[in-house]
């Protein structure tokens, strides 16, 4: 059994040995690199990592360079989760056969993928991994858009945002569909742990990641990843956007244990109106025209209803 890494403060956390190097091609202000470091720094154990095709992958493994000082694999857009599942199966096989080169290690198996690679094209592969019970963690870097290819809508793209394939225009307010609820869907597989995290709430994140590492079986993590390029905000404001996302409750932080027991893990002292979250991003700019202001009201109602639902779930202890 591996020892849980003890982290007292942010300074100690940020000075952990990096197995994901700062030398990468991600945009300045990209939350992906922050989330990845927070996940990896939560453990000192060895890592077997994958990235599905997307921003993280194309920005960290361009031959002949790599940003990864850990075992890492990329196969394709949809199958990063299954790559790690295959590696985990091999680990089990070699352990049973006594052929591990370092049998005393306790590696962690983690697949990273964007919302496109998780909510859309990789959905089936992740579902398969969760259902089969691999000892692995799937982390969604959820920036609510196909950012790597220039900002096309995914099934994580929220109502009213403007993306290149669901743009706002003379007769359209952009995205018409509500975001898919992946945390619930994955929890419904009966997996031991699923949770939503945000990079600004690093203590909450580390706690959840470490909980995920401690359980036996598949873990699903959805991480909000504010995208300076596609959400259209200044690169210096990534953490501010992340704060707005959690404090407006657009991204409530919670966990679901064993597929049913829901705990809210962060309750903002001062809940920020959703309007402030929307106003901070260029992708929602058009919603502030008179004819679309009703959508902002609907946004608030939807967020309130989801928050009330989460509270009821938590209280019910079911």
């Amino acid at each position: 059994m591996s020892e849980m890494k003890k982290i007292k403060n942010l300074k100690e956390f940020s000075t952990s040995a990096d197995r994901f190097e700062g030398a990468n091609l991600l945009c300045p202000g990209c939350a992906h690199s922050i989330i990845v470091r927070e996940v990896l720094n939560a453990t000192n154990d060895d890592l077997v990592l994958s990235a599905s095709t997307g921003c993280l992958e194309v920005c960290t493994a361009v031959y002949p360079y790599t940003s990864w000082d850990a075992s890492w694999i990329h196969i394709g857009f949809e199958n990063g989760s299954t790559a790690v599942a295959g590696a985990e199966a091999m680990y089990n096989a070699l352990r049973n056969k006594g052929r591990l080169k370092q049998p005393d290690r306790n590696p962690k198996f983690i697949s990273f993928a964007g919302d496109g690679a998780s909510y859309d094209i990789g959905f089936q592969w992740i579902s398969g991994c969760m259902e089969r019970g691999h000892n692995m963690m799937h982390v969604v870097l959820d920036n609510e858009v196909y950012a790597n290819t220039g900002g096309q809508r995914s099934s994580s793209t929220p109502i009213g945002s403007s993306s290149t394939t669901a743009p706002a225009g003379r007769v359209s307010y952009g995205e018409k569909k509500n975001k898919k609820d992946m945390v619930s869907i994955m929890a419904s597989h009966g997996i031991p742990y699923s949770a939503q995290v945000a990079p600004n709430k690093w203590k909450d994140m580390v706690k959840k990641i470490q909980h995920g590492f401690s359980v036996d079986g598949p873990v699903f993590i959805n991480a909000v990843s504010p995208c300076t390029t596609e959400w259209k905000f200044d690169p210096k404001d990534t953490m501010m956007l992340s704060d707005l996302s959690t404090d407006s409750l657009v991204f409530p932080l919670y966990e679901i244990i064993d597929g049913h027991e829901l705990n809210i893990t962060y309750r903002p002292k001062n809940v920020v109106p959703v309007e402030e979250y929307l106003a901070a991003q260029g992708r929602f700019k058009h919603l502030f025209k008179d004819q679309y202001k009703y959508l902002i009201k609907e946004w608030q109602e939807r967020v309130d209803a989801k928050w009330a639902y989460l509270n009821r779930r938590e209280e019910a202890r079911v």
């Binding site: 075992s71 196969i75 049973n96 590696p107 592969w125 579902s127 398969g128």
Partner: protein, 407 residues
């Protein structure tokens, strides 16, 4: 966790699927990730039963699609161990993306492909459409003509694929139903002989070696992509054939069964030759013998290795032949046919260019009968006598309705 060895009789009555499943068991695979599809399903069913009965120690992961099967195989192979799976037809088609990824990442994996037609129209029977779909994927492709071959070629495939000078994945093809579901006598190896032949897996760039972290599956654009692809192709063309030959030689020493990169039958003095793959090779051999009794010097050439294409070995095998028929068991869909094209390419720069005619046959499990081959040999002899191709350049064997030849 331990596993039991299995006592086999010297000759077992197995179909091609069970022969392949037995070979996988004997190779002591570390990870099989698989998804069932007709007609290859009994391979994974057989393997699952071996596991349930305690004859297998490795991991068996039944995934949710063929794409995931090969994705899991790639992850497992990169982690560093022996990996195999099986599929057919639509499943193979779904896998195609990952086939290129497996070979591009230089990962040894053995894939048993039980050949079946591709929809539409949906069809579960044998033809070579799936085999042809894989021919540019960078895999080594072996072709079995019978259950014995399906058994033996699995051992060869692991030995070649896992060689550190090769590190390319390999397919073992067998004909759906005709081989996969037809029981024949199969000469067996003992478990120890079989495992001794393939040997222990030797990892390379394995993700589970935490002292040497590796990055698998990088991005290369116009600056490096071409070099990677060209080197992979060059390795496939130059390094693989000698390894296959060495494996065939070693296997002959072990089993007494001799395999050749190109299988030639009655070719020494042949005037007319049929070149084909799969079970048809055996039918053609029988007919060639009968044609010789009628005074036609008939021969048969079978491809044992489809990729890398045995360019020089084919030219050598066909030396001095006057008329050749290529038998393609896949709709060319807009070309003369894979075998026609490859054979034409192999012979074009040789001194004695034979008369070449193409035949498309057996789609969706349509039988190729001895009578078909008799008239085909007669057509080839007519070509020899006339000094030119007397038939359309492309013909369909046994298809009803109007003649559909376009050449």
């Amino acid at each position: 966790m331990a596993f039991d060895k299995m006592e086999l009789r010297d000759i077992e009555v197995w179909d091609g699927n069970f022969a392949a499943a037995q070979a996988l068991r004997q190779c002591q695979i570390d990870v099989v990730a698989a998804y069932p599809i007709t007609p290859s399903t009994p391979i994974v069913e057989g393997y699952a039963k071996f596991l349930a009965d305690g004859y297998i120690e490795g991991e068996f992961v039944m995934v949710e699609s063929e794409h995931a099967a090969m994705s899991g195989c790639i992850g497992a192979a990169a982690a560093g161990g022996r990996v195999a799976t099986a599929t057919s037809s639509q499943g193979f088609a779904l896998m195609v993306e990952t086939l290129y990824q497996a070979s591009g990442m230089r990962l040894p994996i053995v894939l048993n492909v039980v050949n079946r037609a591709l929809a539409a129209p949906l069809n579960v029977n044998g033809d070579h459409s799936d085999m042809y779909l894989g021919r540019d994927s960078g895999w080594i492709q072996f072709d079995a003509y019978c259950p014995q071959n399906a058994y033996d070629l699995n051992f060869i495939a692991f030995k070649v694929s896992e060689d550190h000078d090769v590190r390319l994945p390999a397919m073992v093809h067998q004909d759906g139903f005709m081989t996969s579901h037809t029981a024949q006598g199969v000469n067996t190896l003992t478990d120890d002989e079989a495992y001794g032949f393939v040997g222990d897996f030797k990892p390379m760039n394995d993700m589970l070696d935490f002292e040497h972290p590796v990055t698998h599956g990088v991005q290369t654009e116009e600056d490096w992509h071409f070099e990677h692809k060209a080197r992979q192709h060059n390795d496939l063309m130059t390094k693989v054939m000698p390894k296959i030959q060495a494996a065939f030689d070693d296997f002959e020493k072990l089993s007494g069964r001799k395999y050749n990169i190109v299988e030639s039958y009655d070719m020494a003095d042949a005037d007319v030759a049929v070149i084909c793959m799969g079970t048809s090779v055996e039918t053609a051999r029988e007919v060639a013998t009968e044609m010789r009794a009628k005074g036609i010097k008939a021969g048969v050439v079978g491809l044992r290795v489809i990729r890398p294409f045995p360019f020089f070995q084919i030219a050598e095998a066909l030396k001095g032949v006057k008329a050749i028929a290529t038998l393609d068991r896949s709709s060319p869909n807009g070309a003369p046919g894979m075998l026609f094209n490859e054979i034409a390419g192999a012979l074009y720069n040789t001194g004695d260019r034979a008369l070449l005619s193409g035949y498309v046959y057996g789609l969706g499990g349509r039988d190729l009968t001895k009578a078909h081959l008799v008239s085909l040999y007669n057509e080839l002899q007519a070509n020899v006598d006339a000094g030119k191709v007397t038939t359309p350049l492309q013909q369909f064997i046994g298809v009803r309705g109007p003649k559909l030849s376009f050449l």
